[in-house]
């Protein structure tokens, strides 16, 4: 069966599809989070050097991964909108930004609470922490910049340029622990080597990461629906479905 994907580039066609997908992704988020938390708190053993404080990893790493990944997805949508001038792209970018900012905040917050018992300090101005803080400001700047324009198309273009320029920061965050001497430890999990952690810890972390992923999709789709309604409120199809 051939699906015309471009049809879903129209907000009107995407609106009901997004609505149908939200509960499924919300369900998947819970379905991954519950075993993830169970493994993380009840099965994964106590860490030999860090004791129980290491259990912060199951929220910290998924949140940090999502903060970077969501930024790239957001910049990707924004860039697509800039090139193809599609209406939905800018809306998708706007829908992702608050969730990305939320995960960035959670990564910084849980990092501070993990840093205190392990490094003896809540915060240091090292490369990893500073570039992640810049990521938070990029998200907030993107949201503020778009809100500053009355014309949504101009807001989309300005936002896209900021998002694309800011995307340079993501590889800086990711590779900061290799490029500079930082207090932050290197990656425990990478695509090129075997993970340096116990299997149950790894399983818990990956389940939580999947949960964060599914949650982000559910929330972004729910948010894009309200953005579509807001932006297209003067269009005939919104008025018809609202019964006015």
């Amino acid at each position: 069966m051939a699906i015309d994907w471009f049809r879903f580039g129209s907000p009107q066609a995407f609106f009901p599809v997004a609505g149908k997908m939200v509960p499924w992704f919300a369900f998947l988020a819970v379905a991954f989070a519950l075993p993830g938390l169970y493994l993380g708190f009840f099965v994964a053993p106590t860490d030999a050097t860090q004791g129980e404080s290491y259990r912060i990893i199951f929220i910290h790493v998924p949140a940090a991964w999502m903060s970077m990944f969501l930024y790239l997805v957001m910049a990707g949508w924004a860039g697509l909108g800039l090139v193809l001038n599609t209406r939905l792209s800018g809306m998708m970018a706007s829908a992702i930004a608050p969730t990305g900012a939320m995960f960035t905040f959670v990564a910084l917050w849980s990092g501070a609470l993990w840093g205190k018992p392990t490094w003896g300090t809540w915060w240091v101005w090292d490369a990893r922490l500073t570039s992640e803080l810049i990521l938070l400001f990029l998200y907030l700047g993107f949201i503020a910049l778009k809100a500053a324009f009355a014309d949504p198309q101009r807001a989309d273009r300005a936002g896209a340029i900021l998002a694309l320029l800011g995307a340079v920061n993501v590889p800086i965050i990711y590779f900061s622990v290799q490029w500079w001497n930082t207090l932050h430890q290197g990656a425990s999990v990478s695509l090129t080597r075997a993970p340096s952690m116990a299997a149950t810890m790894l399983a818990a972390m990956l389940l939580m990461a999947l949960a964060a992923w599914m949650y982000s999709i559910a929330v972004a789709l729910a948010r894009v629906r309200s953005i579509i309604l807001e932006r297209e409120r003067d269009m005939a199809w919104v008025r018809m479905s609202a019964g006015t």
Binding site: F41, T46, S53, R55, I56, P98, M102, V106, L113, S226
Partner: protein, 43 residues
């Protein structure tokens, strides 16, 4: 099973503030985001 009792679990080996502080704030953020979205979409 890692914990002998509920109070053991809550104490997190002395790291309760850090562990529950992380998960608590994350849960609050998620709850706030979901609440705001539901409120917005029901209007």
């Amino acid at each position: 099973m890692n914990w002998g009792s509920l109070s053991d679990f809550l104490a997190m080996g002395g790291y309760a503030l850090y562990v529950w502080g992380s998960y608590g704030v994350a849960a609050l953020c998620i709850a706030a985001e979901v609440f705001l979205l539901i409120r917005k979409s029901s209007r």
